[in-house]
Amino acid sequence: MADYLPHTSDEVDAMLSFLGLSSLEQLFDHIPAAVRLSQGLELAPGMSEPDVADYFNRLTRANRAQASALTCFAGAGAYDHEVPAVVKMLGSRSEFVTAYTPYQPEVAQGVLQAIFEYQTLISRLSGLPIANASLYDGATALVEALNMAAGATQRSKMVVSTGVHPHWRDVLRTFAAGTGYDIIEVPLRDGLTDWDSVDATGAAAIVASYPNYLGVLEDIGVAKRLSVANDALLVLGADPIAAGVLKTAGQWGADVFVGEGQPFGTPLAFGGPYLGLFACSDEQVRRLPGRIVGETVDSNDRRAFVTTLRAREQDIRRERATSNVCTNQTLMAVTAAIQLGWLGTQGLREVATRSAQGAHYLFEHACQIEGVTPVSSQPFFREFALRVPHRAGEVLRAMCEDGVLGGLSVAELTNGSDGSLEDPSHVVLVAVTERRTREQIDHYVDVLRKVVR
């Protein structure tokens, strides 16, 4: 009999009598009897919070992959970065957590200004002038980028590198069923997109990933030239941590940047809620999906923030809107602004540098193990793919016995969607963050050596 209802039974009676009713059921009398639930819901009765907590404790014990049991070397868009107490506490302030979309700016300056600061940070990290207030995740941000490209070019052919995260490509195919896009996937060769192998004539977008899902740093200049030659938009999906040391999307000439913002203060959280990063050039601003916050003044000439360019959005433009997005991931965007405020310029560079150093240290030592070889000879940032002598799933399972989450199985990740990778069942994708110590990495190498022997 647990709930959060304040009414006493006397109050309920008084309110019913004010309405000329004698029971709560009568409130529903105008619903046709034929469809009314006569027996009530087929759900267990309510439980107290401590009872429900006991149930959840049992559930969580069955999650063997929690951080206290396994050291995480898994990535593929979801990384184990430091999230300090100050970010967790500020990001869980109930004023941010329990607010709605800032439709009444006079009482929503807190969220609006935080989004404005977030947009500024994402604009700088992407090297592009316009960033929106967030989308659901990296994959759905890419869907919106294709919609933008289709709108800008009035074309429907999308040339997508197979280096784009396999799940993201899966999501693109799903939504293309509605928009009718012709998605052409470009295979990888030695970890690099073989752009020459496809005809990009009439493309709306050239879609590349930096690094690509195997961790490889490709020369995005090739994709840029292809987009220019075909008058298509260059859409670049990038690891946002990379912007701490590597060239930004804008520097590579991208028209649209999308990214998975999870590394900015969000826990692994079994995949969500994460944060879809989206930035673009000035030319595309009228086609921007979702919300954007702008600076203005109030009637007393004080600085104020407000959601703007609203005429693009679904509640006004309806079937001609640039997107159907309404609720986005604002709380994650606010958290990202706090995390980036904590990291600052130097901190982001440091996180990126240490992640790259740890990854190269692990790569070098792992490749000395007999039977373990790199999948690609190309440069990488903080993630790489290794070919192992046994099935990747078995290797990873065995490593867990020694407390190491050794990475992800590429075969499971791609579900057969990457025909260009030879024998993916023996490939492990490994990621390193600034949280991994030399001792942990050395242990990884020892365990891998033992497992593949």
Binding site: D3, N63, G77, P129, T140, F175, G178, G272, M332, L396
Partner: protein, 503 residues
């Protein structure tokens, strides 16, 4: 009812009035707050690891702040923000009910939130059980057969539902081009229909605020893929002819899509599945009280009837005959609609909420939500009459046309004046079919004293409309900022600090 302390405490929140500098304005070169783990990994120069043509020759300039400044900044920003925890938020259609702290605590457990989404199923059995259990309970609540938990918000659920509709028709070699939508629908409906590759046909409402059944029947044909309905609709009224509507749409081979924005009103009273709906999305951040987060994250699971199960997005958590949980792709799956498994932490909160309430508690939730809305409608009938004067569900749409005609005071003025009174505004000018609409959704978690305080605040505003209408055009003045110049924001877009400093 008296506007007792409990009621007043739920209004007149204290908000910060001083303008807060941006974090960039606060930045001082040389300050920092980050602290990282000592790793002892060899600090090899990046030049030796990564080719120069990939390296950025300069740093991306972010900010340089002390931790103390960071905390001060975001705490002061939070003081400039209205929230459910601070006061009543009767924003119609948004179901801004109290969000139990217990559910947040559940989601903060590292046993859930430190799990990587890509690990093999045997390492995350607890998570898979949670997902399967939530799916079963959502199906019990809606009367459906199976559900996907992947969609990250209501609009994502809508588009997922339309793609399911498309896959269903295509699988039968059936080409259909139109989807029907009432003129009172949320804007996300038509926007989703376009992205689903269909054309919108708008169905007018009748004088009772309900779907005009004759117009609906006239619009039906073999080219209709389905209809999207919100029930109760956005006017807060139950579509009483739903059984006839369902028959008519099914008779031409169309499907019925249930927009779950207003599911809170009918928990335990009536189920979409029993009304004849084939596809149902739920907004967990509304009905199941997961916090709105200032505009997300939400979660928009989609439940379907038996004949649509095989098309659901995958992979999907499933209980195998062995009792273990595994990922399975439905045989004719439309594919993924999210990068991983959906907004998992939101799903965990929703399950905790459902478990605390149980079937009996959820039924009371709807009853009290409908009780509060009807009490408020009746209480305000002389000040702001209802657009449709009869029993409503969880929200009531009132109209300010009398104030507009008599004193030139518009619905927006009333909404802004309520902010001065310490209440969040209702939804204004929606649905589009009601003139000077003010849509109040009190939710079940507000006490009668708070409702009375809100009613008295509305009455004071009506009195001001009579005495000093000009003052209402200038409202609000006691909030952190007064009415903002939205036209200027759109005319000269300044969406970053850099655009601002270029001016």
């Amino acid at each position: 009812m008296t506007a007792a302390p409990g009621g007043r405490a739920a209004s007149a929140p204290l908000l910060g009035h001083e303008t807060e500098p941006t974090m960039f304005e606060m930045s001082v070169p040389g300050r920092s707050s980050y602290q990282l783990r000592t790793t002892d990994v060899p600090a090899v120069s990046l030049d030796a690891l990564i080719p120069l043509d990939h390296l950025n020759s300069s740093d991306v300039d972010l900010v340089e702040l002390s931790e103390r400044d960071l905390v001060g900044h975001f705490t002061r920003l939070s003081h400039r923000q209205f929230s459910v925890d601070l006061g009543m938020y009767p924003l119609g259609s948004c179901t801004m009910k109290y969000n139990p702290k217990f559910c947040d605590a559940v989601a903060a457990d590292p046993g859930l939130n430190s799990v990587h989404p890509g690990v093999p199923a045997e390492l995350c059995q607890g998570w898979l059980e949670l997902l399967v259990t939530l799916e079963e309970k959502l199906c019990a609540i809606t009367g459906m057969s199976a559900a996907t938990l992947q969609p990250a918000a209501g609009a994502a659920g809508e588009l997922t539902g339309l793609l399911l509709m498309r896959a269903f028709h295509s699988s039968r070699g059936d080409v259909r081009t139109r989807v029907l939508i009432p003129d009172s629908a949320h804007g996300t409906n038509p926007a989703s229909v376009t992205l689903g590759g269909y054309e919108v046909t708008t169905i007018p409402s009748n004088e009772r605020g309900l779907v005009d059944l004759a117009a609906l029947k006239a619009a039906l044909g073999p080219d209709v893929a389905g209809i999207m309905l919100t029930n109760p609709n956005t006017v807060g009224l139950f579509e009483e002819e739903i059984v006839d509507i369902a028959h008519a749409v099914h008779d031409v081979g169309g499907l019925l899509y249930y927009d779950g924005a207003n599911l809170n009103a009918i928990l335990g009273a009536v189920r979409p599945g029993d009304m004849g709906f084939d596809i149902v999305h739920m907004n967990l951040h509304k009905t199941f009280a997961t916090p709105h987060g200032g505009g997300g994250p939400g979660a928009g699971p989609v439940a379907v009837s038996k004949r649509l199960e095989e098309f659901l997005p995958g992979p999907k958590a499933t209980r195998a005959s062995s009792g273990a949980y595994e990922w399975r792709r439905p045989p004719r799956s439309i594919g993924r609609v999210h990068g991983w498994h959906g907004n998992a932490m939101v799903l965990a909160r929703a399950l905790a909420y459902i478990d605390v309430h149980g079937g009996d508690g959820l039924t009371r939730v709807a009853q009290h939500a409908v009780l509060n809305a009807n009490w408020l409608r009746r209480r305000l009938e002389k000040t702001l009459p209802a657009a449709y004067d009869r029993m409503c569900m969880h929200e009531c749409v009132l109209t300010a046309t009398n104030l507009k005609n008599s004193f030139g005071v518009r619905g927006l003025d009333v909404a802004k004046a309520l902010l001065e009174e310490g209440f969040h505004s209702p939804t204004v000018y929606f649905p589009l079919i009601v003139e000077e609409a003010l849509m109040f959704e009190p939710t079940e978690t507000e006490s009668p004293q708070t409702l009375e305080a809100l009613a008295q605040a509305v009455e004071r505003i009506a009195q001001r409309a009579h005495d000093d209408p000009e003052s209402l055009h200038r409202a609000p003045q006691t909030t952190p900022v007064s009415r903002v110049d939205e036209a200027r924001a759109a005319r000269h877009l300044i969406s970053t600090e850099d655009a601002s400093s270029r001016r």
